[in-house]
Symmetry: D2
Subunit: 284 residues, 4 copies
């Protein structure tokens, strides 16, 4: 039994669903999940579909080729077909904050995450003992103004060497360069510690305290060139009051950050996110 996941988006027009489901039926596939969405403003059609194939002779590559010719080219689709056999590989970037790292490695060890973490990159040595405890390689790549280009090249080399599929910035406190973003478009997940678009940039808990908001939040999003302005994957919030100090906001926020980032990682790793027009469609 082989299982594939298909993600499609294209200009909306009649008969896409029937054409795709028909195609799969002819290939002896059994659709076990289908969900679709139409953005009526932009007239864009989105679909996510999981199908099982029980025939010995099924070849994912042959299926891809047939799909391209019979469907993708005709409907002018943007599409991806993933085999469930391969787990995505995720690189973890961290700096000094340890809460997201502990949380993710705990989940990883428990088998909760459907992915592999070949290594951790950090611009500091502080969190190396945690990586050691969890027996995950930890690459210390310091970043200074002078070494920025060199450091980035080291990162790119590692990402290539380990064939990394996507990157997670678990409170990594460095700006990601255009080059790295261009190499991993909509494949770098950041956790920002505010309810975006409120409090973009540095020290959002301080800004939230100053504004006197009654609810704080955290936002996981794909990194784009504009700071904290990429497509939002998930958000979480929690109530606060005048009695909470900035330190209280930071402490309460940590729980939000952990959960919102973990959610985004799971959605991405399970191929449930599609991106267009700087927004996401989440098929959960």
């Amino acid at each position: 039994m082989q299982k594939i996941t298909i993600l499609i988006h294209c200009k909306d027009r009649p008969n896409i669903i029937a054409s795709v489901t028909n195609f799969i039926a002819k290939k002896d596939g059994n659709i076990v999940y289908i969900d679709q969405h139409v953005d009526r403003e932009q007239n864009i059609f989105f679909m996510r579909l999981e199908s099982e194939f029980s025939k010995e002779s099924f070849s994912a590559d042959a299926f891809r080729d047939a799909f391209r010719i019979n469907l993708a080219d005709i409907f002018d689709m943007k599409w991806r077909i993933y085999s469930s056999a391969r787990k995505p590989k995720m690189a973890l970037f961290v700096s000094k904050y340890d809460h997201c790292l502990y949380d993710l490695l705990g989940r990883y060890n428990s088998g909760e995450l459907n992915l592999e973490i070949p290594f951790i990159i950090s611009n500091h040595l502080d969190l190396k003992p945690i990586a050691d405890n969890f027996k995950i390689p930890y690459y210390f790549i310091p970043v200074t103004k002078e070494t920025k280009a060199e450091a980035e090249q080291k990162q790119l080399d590692l990402l290539e060497k380990y064939q990394i599929n996507f990157i997670v910035l678990a409170r990594y406190m460095q700006i990601i360069s255009e080059k790295l973003i261009a190499e991993f478009p909509n494949k770098i997940i950041n956790i920002h510690h505010s309810f975006l678009p409120a409090f973009v940039g540095a020290k959002p808990y301080h800004s939230a305290f100053k504004r006197g908001v009654k609810i704080i939040g955290a936002t996981s999003h794909y990194v784009t060139e504009e700071l904290d302005a990429g497509p939002i994957i998930d958000q979480g919030v929690t109530r606060v009051s005048h009695s909470h100090s900035i330190e209280d906001l930071i402490s309460k926020g940590r729980d939000l950050e952990k959960i919102v980032l973990a959610n985004a990682i799971k959605l991405h790793a399970n191929r449930k996110v599609m991106v267009y027009n700087n927004k996401t469609v989440i098929f959960s």
Copy 2:
């Protein structure tokens, strides 16, 4: 342009989705919404589908007949096909509490609800002025031990006369008889003022206060013979603390009741709810 909504459930087996979408394509329909669910424990397949037909010659009745022969009989489906042309008719049952009534009539007047309210039934006269303000007929049908059967017959006569599709108990403080439940299976929506299955029965806010819970809730569900045990449509919760008295819980609960009941009504009226095994599938 005509639009229909199809709800299906049946034993899961391969090719249902492809067969249905293919059938609609052959009838020149354009699928604008499809969602599906499989209960893997029970091996039951569920689907909700909206399709538009632009041909002048399209007949919903002919479509129903063809659907029955070509699909429903073959897959042994339980199915319903609704035309969007007809708004469902809803009867409102109330007693003395006015908050759900104000809320629903406010929404109704604003055009937020896709349904008709031909009349209100009550076992008390208290809320008649509100019905009068909103210019909706108000039938006062008192219920006593002696008159219970007679009262129920009056209710049934009204429900039949106005061709009511479903009933909403907006804090109606009378037990609904087996007969009425049998006439409107999964078509009577109740709002219970607790987070079911906690605090079944009378005075749930008092029980919640006594137990010292930190969160209270409200639950909208279809009425079945067993008290407060029918299929759950929606639930809502809000935080409380030791500082809240029973009166505070009642006051905070009112806002939950209003929203949770309104949500359930909208889901039902828009044909987004399917019921099986005393549970609901909500295609929202």
Copy 3:
């Protein structure tokens, strides 16, 4: 039995609590509620206190005088003492949206609000039938560029004539002038249909849709000269997804607006809000 509520804020220094509680004990008062807060950044002390006096001879005015001399002057307090005997008077300003109006008048009629609504002001005639139903005077004061000053004078005359204590803008679609704000400092409550400080200004649901947020919100705040930047009283949020259109956001947002505005009104009317540095302390 008379009951008073005392609100205090001043520079923090030792013995304020003991001095105040002692003073009340000497006046034969029984403290039934006390809560306090210290803003450690600004070194400001806040207290809210409810006290009951059972002696026939108790005079709120005499108490106020003694409080001023013995406590307020010494600690350089900003303070208010309210008698529970007097309900605050609230003026409702509306335009064309009816959901907050229905909600508030429903609550008012049910006795849920501890206040009086002497009249409604609107720059449109659309909602007059609702005011008529609820038998509340409705003053139609159209506002155009030319008549703005004159219209405002009419408003001020009404506010004075009815001895209004605070104003609620229930989706009133006009900018409030500096003059009115100056007359009612921290006494004009607005409901903004976004999670402030995100999406300040017009059409926040459209902006939220465009940005692709996964949670929308509503914010009740006091009106200050800067648009949507006044002290926040309460906020509420609800989850949304890619499947929601702008119309869906507007519809879901209505429920948030109703509840968040009603919460703010109750907090204000029950003298539970203190304002300083453009923030609120909420003693709930």
Copy 4:
């Protein structure tokens, strides 16, 4: 500078607050936090107070004695006075589930928890490597029908030897005996994986799935003799839908369990919880 926390509850009567605050003022203490609550149904008064003493000569023991004679005996108070100098000691009991353990040890290492964890007890060896990583002693005490009494004695010996103040059952899958409960009254914190009082006992996620609830929860509570019926400290909830399998509920529930348990531990360790009539007063 010394700081103490005072917790009081007693029959409500006039002048308690003034008497206590006056007493502290006379001892040259500065009250930095005061909160109080009256259960009007039971006529019980509760207060939590933090006070700082800057005099060299201040003695917490002498203060306790004076408090007893001048206040506690007169008002017939149940009271506790804690010095902030001493961190409470917490014993962790675990079985095979690791998510709460990872979460708590991560928080512990980050300095988020104001307590000490001298050791971990488990009836299985599975989680020993985690304890080793975090360098916390791990006592493997297997429990069988035959060895139950002996195992419990070993536990009691360890609890005494390390002078443990309270116990946390982080998904410890054994019934706690009456003897242990009697030794640690309202000092054993359990995390139950449902929204109590719904789904008491084993396999609550399975029961929640079967009932078709739309929201699941977790509850932290003090252990009493009756199963899952002790005083509730905190609860958390999250939305679920028909599309979630039992495994999904378990996975989503883990995040609730972690946060709700951590919240309860923080509240308890910071002396913010008072218990009476099988309920809690939380001064947060």
